[in-house]
């Protein structure tokens, strides 16, 4: 053992390596991404690591590994679980040989997601056992336990951290490489009664799964991670208790130091719910406060348990309005909820005088981001026409911000294509566009293109190809020619895919060449059917900036057209002239191409 300073996701990755994992795949998504990246950095010799094209493929890969006896880890964010749910629901029925851990990072808030869905509820729905860690150390240990449990009971197992656990850092105890478990070599043994899902098999397995989960509720009741801290001192004869899990438990422990030692239970294995342990916690209590994020999961389990056992205990939480139904918990929200519940008055914080109005800082596309140029080109080309701009998931969702205002819809990965084609059938007079990034294109846009083409939709597909998965921190994808195994491979061509399925108009343009980009969009937009423009220019966070522009303050007429039209964060107005922040400007030259006074010089020339 030795001490390392690790992010929760790094701890999970090292835990998987220590557990002898032999295959790791997933699709990037905040807050889960660093798990796979860290495994790749510490990849054991025999192990296969890849960013798969999407979560469904990743889950199917993991299922394949698990029938060979090798341990597999599949990683995704909560939205990705929706994509992977088809194979997962079935793997649960046929079971596994090698341990299979499904790492799904949930995002209370949400901070960087479309929904506040709760993987604990998904665990109950899919019947897959679930671990819920509170901090990096616990996550490190839990993933090793999860592998053992998975193998012992031949079931996939969820490990479900939330953002604040995945992205917390802590100095933690980890194993030395000599202490790592050695995974078995893969050996697929043919057995169609086991690996081929048929109704008769599913019927038998369903019964077995229910029995196993009843047993696991007992096993989890003996699990020390489902810990109960006893009441003492001022609370020795209190009939109130607090129950929690995940990061909220750490907030509750801190609050307990202020408020006194109230009885406190942590639910570390939400499914199957550790009923016996919960009964032990409930014994003698009259009122319980549930502190959790996302669904009122523990709250409902307790109500169910009280109903089943005829216990007269008031269960308070989200459903009773004692804590908010949505959003993240914080140190302060947990402290005040507990203080209110326990009737302890807290010293009010010293009131600060009201500060001056604070600037709002919505996230924006980076200075020099080629997406800004692409959106601007389409906007210019389509000025004055009836349009629909369907956005998608990635940095380019930020194209919705003023002044670009170029995202009319955003739903889920690849959905822009479906929305654009539906509207094109229903409102033939409207010129519809679907914007999709390169990684999203491979992950989930291709079936949408085929569907549109075959079913006679009419819209313009804009592929924003910056040669990386930028939003999640620049992971490779099939268009990049790099793999997580360190190979240089032949990239899959987006043009090739589009032409291959039958598109006849596929044009590739540098978006920073503004006149050409505008002209291309104008020309392509009026063509009938499904056609594509690929805007290709690398993400500036990866490409080295090629200089910067200069502004001649005496030539600048102060019209602020450059700021008003494109909103590059490197540009600001000092009251007389526009100034450029040299630390941010990449010299992309977009602003220079708009300046009516010719006050902007330098930067790249794209022609």
């Amino acid at each position: 053992m030795h001490t390392e300073f690790l992010m929760g996701n790094e701890a999970i990755a090292l835990g998987a390596v220590a557990a002898g994992v032999g295959l790791v795949c997933g699709y990037p998504g905040t807050p889960s991404t660093e798990v796979l990246e860290t495994v790749a950095k510490h990849r054991p010799e025999q192990a296969w690591v890849e960013w798969s094209v999407n979560e469904k493929t990743a889950m199917e890969m993991a299922a394949g590994a698990a029938c060979t006896g090798v341990r597999a880890l599949v990683t995704m964010k909560q939205m990705g679980l929706n994509v992977a749910s088809d194979p997962l629901m079935c793997v649960e029925y046929i079971g596994v040989r090698g341990g299979l851990v499904v790492l799904v990072a949930d995002d209370p808030g949400p901070i960087s997601s479309q929904t506040e869905q709760d993987t604990r509820s998904f665990a109950a729905f899919s019947k897959v056992p679930c671990f819920d860690p509170s901090d990096p150390q616990e996550a490190y240990e839990m993933i090793q336990k999860a592998f053992d449990l998975s193998e012992k009971y031949e079931t996939p197992v969820f490990l479900r951290p939330t953002t604040r656990v995945s992205h917390a850092y802590a100095s933690i105890q980890v194993r030395d490489p000599e202490e790592y478990r050695k995974g078995p070599a893969a050996s697929f043994e043919k057995d169609s009664s086991r690996w081929v899902i048929f109704p008769r098999l599913s019927n038998r397995r369903h019964g077995e799964i229910e029995q196993r989960n009843a047993l696991l509720s007992e096993v989890f009741s003996a699990e020390p991670a489902n810990r109960i801290d006893r009441e003492e001192g001022a609370f020795a004869s209190s009939r109130r208790g607090v129950i929690t899990g995940g990061i909220s438990w750490t907030y509750a422990m801190e609050a307990r130091r202020f408020l006194g030692p109230v009885r406190l239970m942590k639910v570390s294995t939400p499914f199957p719910f550790p009923e016996k342990r919960a009964l032990e916690f409930l014994s003698g209590l009259e009122e319980v406060l549930c502190l959790e994020e996302l669904d009122p999961y523990i709250e409902r389990e307790l109500k169910y348990l009280c109903g089943k056992r005829g216990l007269k205990i008031r269960v308070l939480g989200k459903e009773t309005g004692h804590v908010p139904a949505a959003g993240e918990n914080t140190r302060d929200s947990v402290l005040s909820a507990m203080a209110g519940f326990l009737e302890v008055s807290l010293p009010g914080p010293g009131e600060l005088p009201a500060p001056p109005a604070l600037p709002v800082r919505p996230p924006v596309l980076c200075a020099g981001c080629p997406h800004r140029a692409s959106f601007y080109a389409v906007k210019q080309a389509m000025k004055g026409q009836e349009t629909l701009f369907c956005g998608d998931i990635g940095c380019y969702t930020l194209g919705n911000a003023q002044p670009l205002d170029m995202v009319d819809t955003c739903l889920c990965m690849g959905a822009g294509l479906g929305i654009a084609q539906a509207v094109s059938h229903l409102e033939p007079g409207r010129s519809c566009f679907a914007f999709v990034g390169d990684s999203t294109f491979f992950a989930s846009a291709v079936p949408g293109v085929i569907n549109a083409l075959y079913n006679q939709a009419s819209f313009t597909l804009i592929v924003l190809d910056n040669s990386t998965t930028a939003m999640t921190g620049h992971q490779p994808h099939p268009g990049t020619g790099r793999t997580m195994m360190g190979q240089s491979v032949r990239p899959v061509s987006i043009e090739g895919v589009l032409r291959g399925v039958g598109l006849t108009t596929v044009e590739t343009v540098d978006p920073l060449n503004l006149p050409l980009a505008v002209e291309t969009v104008r020309r392509v937009a009026v063509l009938p059917g499904v056609k594509a423009v690929i805007f290709r220019s690398p993400c500036v966070a990866l490409a080295r900036p090629k200089g910067r522009v200069d502004i001649d303050a005496s030539a600048c007429v102060g019209c602020r057209k450059c700021i008003r039209e494109i909103g590059c964060p490197a540009l600001s107005f000092d009251g007389k002239a526009v100034r450029v922040d040299t630390a941010q400007c990449t010299g992309c030259g977009l602003c220079r191409q708009l300046c009516p006074a010719g006050a902007i010089t330098g930067g790249e020339i794209h022609a």
Partner: protein
């Protein structure tokens, strides 16, 4: 030793590296460290923070209101935004250079960083204001504000770490060719 800190600024200002240096320095002294920071979309020019909690007996990586011993503000308005987290007798080290968001540039620029500094002077008894432009030009590198601010907190004693502790962290975490400049920035406040 127990210390609770908050670093705050705007995505891209280098708060993450500064936080990593502090954590590494504290760990080298054998102290346990918990921390939490903004990752994801906000890194594209939004408000970002790192909470760092050094010492025994910590459960949560996040600070509560009124708990932080020290706030290092890389940007005046961001320091003001995090002020509710400061202890009554806590210290604020802040750069006086504002980062004007595009939204303000668009609407005609109604954000005045000086107003934030004035507010801090009125409300925070233990305040260190770092003149960013002067410091950066004296160090001679445009991108080392993070180390300059760390140095300011180091030399006014509020960090609870020594110059050697931090210099050691710089050795471990910063590539050789940038080390010299970063050490110069770290020591600027001590000159």
């Amino acid at each position: 030793m127990r210390k609770d800190l908050i670093l705050c600024g705007v995505g891209g200002q280098g708060t993450v590296l500064a936080s990593r240096l502090i954590s590494s320095a504290a760990m080298a002294r054998g102290l346990p460290v918990h921390s939490a920071e903004t990752i994801g979309m906000a890194q594209r020019g939004g408000s970002v923070f790192s909470h760092i909690r050094i010492g025994e007996g910590v459960y949560s990586p996040m600070n509560a209101r009124g708990e932080a011993d020290l706030i290092i503000g890389f940007e005046p308005a961001e320091a003001v935004r995090m002020l509710p987290f400061l202890k009554p007798d806590g210290r604020v080290v802040v750069s006086d250079r504002g980062v004007v968001p595009v939204t303000a540039a668009l609407s005609g620029g109604d954000y005045r960083p000086e107003a934030m500094i004035e507010y801090l002077r009125d409300t925070v008894p233990n305040l260190t204001v770092v003149e960013a432009e002067r410091a950066l030009s004296e160090v001679g590198h445009p991108k080392v504000l993070n180390l300059i601010l760390l140095g300011a907190a180091l030399f006014d004693g509020s960090l609870g770490l020594s110059e050697e502790d931090l210099a050691g962290a710089v050795e471990r975490l910063i590539p050789e060719k940038l080390r010299e400049t970063n050490l110069r920035a770290l020591r600027w406040a001590g000159l």
